[in-house]
Structures are given as C-alpha cells and as structure tokens.
Homo-oligomer: 182 residues x 2
Amino acid sequence: MSFIEQMKFCSHCGNKISFGDIPGDDLQRFFCKSCQTIHYQNPKIIVGCLPRWEEKVLLCKRAISPRKGLWTLPSGYLENGEDVEQGAKRETEEEANADVEIIRLFTVYSIPHIGQVYLQFLADLNNLDFYPGAESQEVRLFGKKEIPWEQIAFGAIKFTLEKYFNEQNLNSEVYMGTSNTR
Amino acid sequence: MSFIEQMKFCSHCGNKISFGDIPGDDLQRFFCKSCQTIHYQNPKIIVGCLPRWEEKVLLCKRAISPRKGLWTLPSGYLENGEDVEQGAKRETEEEANADVEIIRLFTVYSIPHIGQVYLQFLADLNNLDFYPGAESQEVRLFGKKEIPWEQIAFGAIKFTLEKYFNEQNLNSEVYMGTSNTR
C-alpha cells in the first residue's frame, strides 16, 4: 500500500521496528517491541488555489517530478503552524509568485490509496505580476477552451477544473470527490 | 511548538537524528546527517459528524483523555486508506455505535499550533439504536437549549455546534474557522 512510509528503526529508541497487528486496533501499524511506541501514520493535506483573472485561470507547468512538464493548480503540502487558507496562499506565492485573495473553499478531494486529501480554494488574482517559482517551468492564464485537459498533472486538479468550468453553482457549493484509482 | 513529534533516531538508518535548518526550506525539520533523510511532519486531519435527529444533535461524553468527562461530537483521526466521509462515518460508529447518513461537509477548522484540521459533516441518524463505544462514557441527544456549552471538549466542536445552532444558512455554506490559541 503506497501510503505507508517505510520505517526500519524506532525513532524513539533506535531499535529495529516491527509492523503488524496492534491490540485493540483495526489497522496494522509500525510498532516497537523494545519501547512499546506505536508509530501512527495518517493522511496528509494538500492545499492550493484556483487563481482567477476575468474568464481565465492560472496554471503552473511543473518543473519537478512527479508529473514534470504537466500542468497543475498551485498546490502543496500544508505545513504545521499554518491554517488551510494560509497554506493555500503560500503555495500560490511559492509556485507562481502570484498575489491572490482567497474567496472560499471550492473542492475537497480524497485519494485514499495514497493517503492524501486536497483542499482547493477559489481565489482572485490581485494583479498580473506572476512568474514561475522554483517548482514551475511556466505559469499562464487559460480560458475554458484552452485548458490542456490531457496534460493535467493530478486527478484532484482535473476534478477542480472540471467543477469550475462545468458546474453552475460557483457561489457556495463545496464539491467533494474521491479517487477511484487503486 | 506542540505540533512537533519528538524524534531521537532516524527511522531509516537508526542513527541519532538532528533538528534544524534545511537548505532551500523555510522550516526547521528533523534530518539525518548519516543517511541524509529529511523527516517531514505535517498536520493531521480529524473527521467527524454532527448527527441529527429531529431538532436534536448527538453528543458523546469522553471516557478517555484528553478532556475526559467533557462532551464532543464523534470525531477522530482520518486513517490512511479511507476518504473523509468514510472516516467521519467510521468514527461515529466507533464512538457512538450510531448509524448515520452523511449529508454534507459543514465546517473546516484549523488549529495551527497543534497541527490539526477538523472536517465536520452534517449527518442524519438512521435510527436511535446508538450506545457508547469504548471511548465514550455516555451518548445522548441534546436540543439547542440543553447543549452543555461550558463542557464542550474541543474548540473545533464548539465552533461547529455554534454554527449549527446560530447560523441561518444550513443548506450549503461550509463554515471555515481557525483557532486563535497560541
């Protein structure tokens, strides 16, 4: 299962780690027979924005793996110490040097088999002074008919763009999705 | 900072771990000078339900720490391998043996200083056959005027209950909140 981060040693006592059933727990986990620590692993949150300017939206062409060369909305892992809106705004600054005002939460997309949950926000660009950050090759505005649908990097991003361009209720509904990929 | 899980040894190679600045990174992290592994830590997702029956909502009195003896909505850590709705439904079954139908996402509440994000769902009870799970002392329905406001276990739960009983738009709006506690 690809969501499991491999552990070989206990991060608490340094002894070799075990993996398997835990009494009173439905899931198998890493645990330490020496110091009895159970090492829980949980899904990670990815936050990002759908930055808008008139009828167009901003996409970033990825300069790094995975999916290098494909297009995405500016997004990345939420960090400790920030709330979800701060994280979405930070990622938009880092990947596109774009100054945005966050409008509202727009999509929540779970990817169970890799332990990820995307939270994407509608946002408005405050100006057009964006340019690629270190993780982007190119940053561009696209109208609905220009979106490179076959070159979108991630399912959660495609879901968000499809909802944005195809749904009528952009005022309040938060669209929920789950990846079916196994 | 209370969101940092202490590490003493590298879980990859077993050598002593370091903590500090990482080149090209704005945050301090655990890293291993021996095998060069950077150990990222990210916020965790807590999912739960606001289960409803007519004009009342279901609360659980906690049987475990933290906040033992205080009241909460059934909620807990999202696990790898499940989507956010599945996690919310599972927690509601575990803590209250309650059978619910999830209606929609209702609140998203970030707690930056402990690295948590709550996703709470409006849900309808399918029947009244609920009873306390292992982590609950008691499970009860409360009307608006009966809610034990001074004995609610967590800020995110109080936020959710306040929005539910005080806001007018229960049909579509997802309420966003951030803890100000430092």
